[in-house]
């Protein structure tokens, strides 16, 4: 367990994190949310006004007790955004720089092992200037893991790479993390990256922790509006609860003139400020012939307001009849557009199953 407790003015930080050991946790948030500062504070590169950092049972810093372990004495690995490779040393020498506590004969062997794990063996005698971006990233990774650190800190390690290189690296890194069995804390603003690499997600905004949980859970069911916004949920709509059944844990919420059935909602008290949301991909299009509609859940009529064609999806913005003033976003395959004659201004019928409606509190 990594316990991180920080208080600071500039940049503003006020959090109390408990991160699971030997797993990968992603710190996710928009630019300026303080995620890099948190990482730097864990590394000891940023000294905050108040800090208490414990790694397993070792205290790395405790400002109340006046304890501070210098960065060099924390068994960590750190990869920053531009990798910060030592430009005057070869890849091998870069990795060996992390192994100075070993006798010289041992260093080369362990450094080569590291380079192999990072899939960059064979280029060890090259200088950083002669390596591509992806290769440099691997060398930086090899250098960070060489010491067998107890915590591996990665600061947006893919932001400088093009998408295809990054995608390849995701696969390699996943493998690496599994082999290493070490705690990895990864800072990113890319939710797909977090989804692919991290088992746990910690949402950070304005230097505070918004929500912490497993990645699956967080991505499927955020609990607050802020979390939903940070996770890029689209249809966040204000509502109020009209009925609540404790036994079946089904509820009813009001949206405009509509009443929507919700499953698995937390017990809601009427008139408390609530928001609901649904993922665009969970809003389904009802076929014109309308067969078997009873199992589809909440049936709504809507008019197509906007249509945006992306590479693999079409994003359709709808005005729901009798619903509230907010517009609803749904996702459709481009082929479905023509099949069901979805055009701007067209009237369609949609279904939102009670189980996909997520209730958010303020």
């Amino acid at each position: 367990m990594i316990e991180v407790s920080l208080n600071h003015d500039a940049p503003p930080l006020d959090l109390d994190l408990k991160i699971k050991s030997n797993q990968t946790t992603a710190l996710v948030g928009p630019s300026g949310s303080g995620k890099t500062s948190i990482l730097r504070a864990i590394a000891g590169l940023l000294k905050t006004q108040r800090s208490c950092i414990k790694v397993d049972k070792t205290i790395w810093s405790d400002s109340d007790q006046g304890v501070w372990r210098a960065t060099a004495n924390r068994t960590l690995g750190y990869v920053c955004q531009n990798y910060a490779l030592f430009p005057h040393l070869t890849a091998l020498q870069n990795v060996e720089s992390a192994l100075l506590h070993l006798p010289e004969s041992e260093r080369r062997k362990q450094a080569m092992e590291s380079l192999e794990k990072a899939c960059i063996a064979g280029l060890e005698d090259r200088l950083p200037a002669n390596l591509s971006g992806g290769q440099r990233q691997r060398v930086a990774m090899a250098r960070a893991i060489a010491r067998r650190p107890s915590v591996l800190l990665l600061d947006e390690p893919f932001s400088a790479l093009d998408r295809s290189t990054a995608k390849r690296l995701y696969i390699e890194l996943n493998q690496l993390f599994l082999e290493l069995h070490t705690t990895v804390i990864l800072v990113t603003h890319d939710l797909d990256e977090a989804a692919q690499l991290a088992e746990h997600l910690c949402l950070i905004h304005h230097g505070r922790q918004v929500q912490y949980g497993t990645t699956n859970e967080m991505l499927r069911r955020p609990t607050s509006v802020e979390a939903a916004q940070l996770l890029d949920f689209k249809n966040i709509i204000r509502t109020s609860c009209t009925a609540s059944n404790r036994e079946t844990s089904n509820s009813q919420i009001q949206w405009g003139d509509l009443l929507l059935e919700v499953e698995n909602a937390p017990t809601l008290s009427p008139n408390s400020p609530l928001f609901w949301t649904v993922r665009p991909s969970d809003v389904t299009l009802v076929r014109a012939d309308g067969k078997n509609t009873s199992e589809l859940g909440n049936l709504l009529h809507a008019i197509v307001d906007e249509l945006v064609l992306l590479r693999e999806w079409a994003v359709v913005t709808l005005k729901v009849v009798n619903g509230g003033p907010e517009r609803l976003q749904m996702q459709l395959r481009p082929s479905a557009l023509s099949r069901h004659q979805v055009r701007i201004g067209a009237k369609i019928q949609i279904a939102i199953h009670p189980s996909v409606i997520i209730i958010l509190d303020e």
Partner: protein, 225 residues
Amino acid sequence: MDITAITLSVKLAFWTLLFLVPLSIGVGRWLARTTFRGKLWIEALIALPLVLPPTVVGYYLLVSMGSHSPLGRFFEQLLGSTLAFSFEGLVAASILVNIPFAVLPVQRSFESVSRDVREAAQCCGMSTWQALRRIELPLAWPGILSATVLTFGHTLGEFGVVLMVGGNIPGETRTVSIAIYDRIQAFDQTAAGQMALMLLLLSLVTVGVSYVLAEKWLHRFRSQH
């Protein structure tokens, strides 16, 4: 041709460098790393010898090292001879006057070692000394070389300060620049010309060699694509 004057100049340059290069590394790195109120004043003070005319600097150095000064008297009591008008006095004056030539390039050089790289060194577990030796100094090397070359050249050519503080004593404080001036005053163009040529060749060779070395170093960083 006054060989003593030439060797004296080279000796002066050598001893100046011996003291000033480590000093400039320490001060240059400190200035590159720290910020504090009044830092600008310190930097201005360091640049001062660049701005003041050498004879003025020489005069004030004479006043502070001569037999009326506490420093001069202390030295005289300690070693029995004056600080001014001695080789040691010249070395002291030379160090002071060359501070901007030594500190400024080194400071810029350390400033150019990015924070990310320095932090990476810490994250690799390197102690301050290890980071200095393996990362910072090698990367700051071109600046240090520049400082050395500038100081060497400037010391060889230094005239006003050496004349005032040294007193033009043959074998002790008559450097080659003073000797050349002396010959010109004596209307001895030939001797002056010979020594000037010698000085020029010496400087060209030193500067040339240093820059070749620096170029070879920098070449390592450049891409071979």
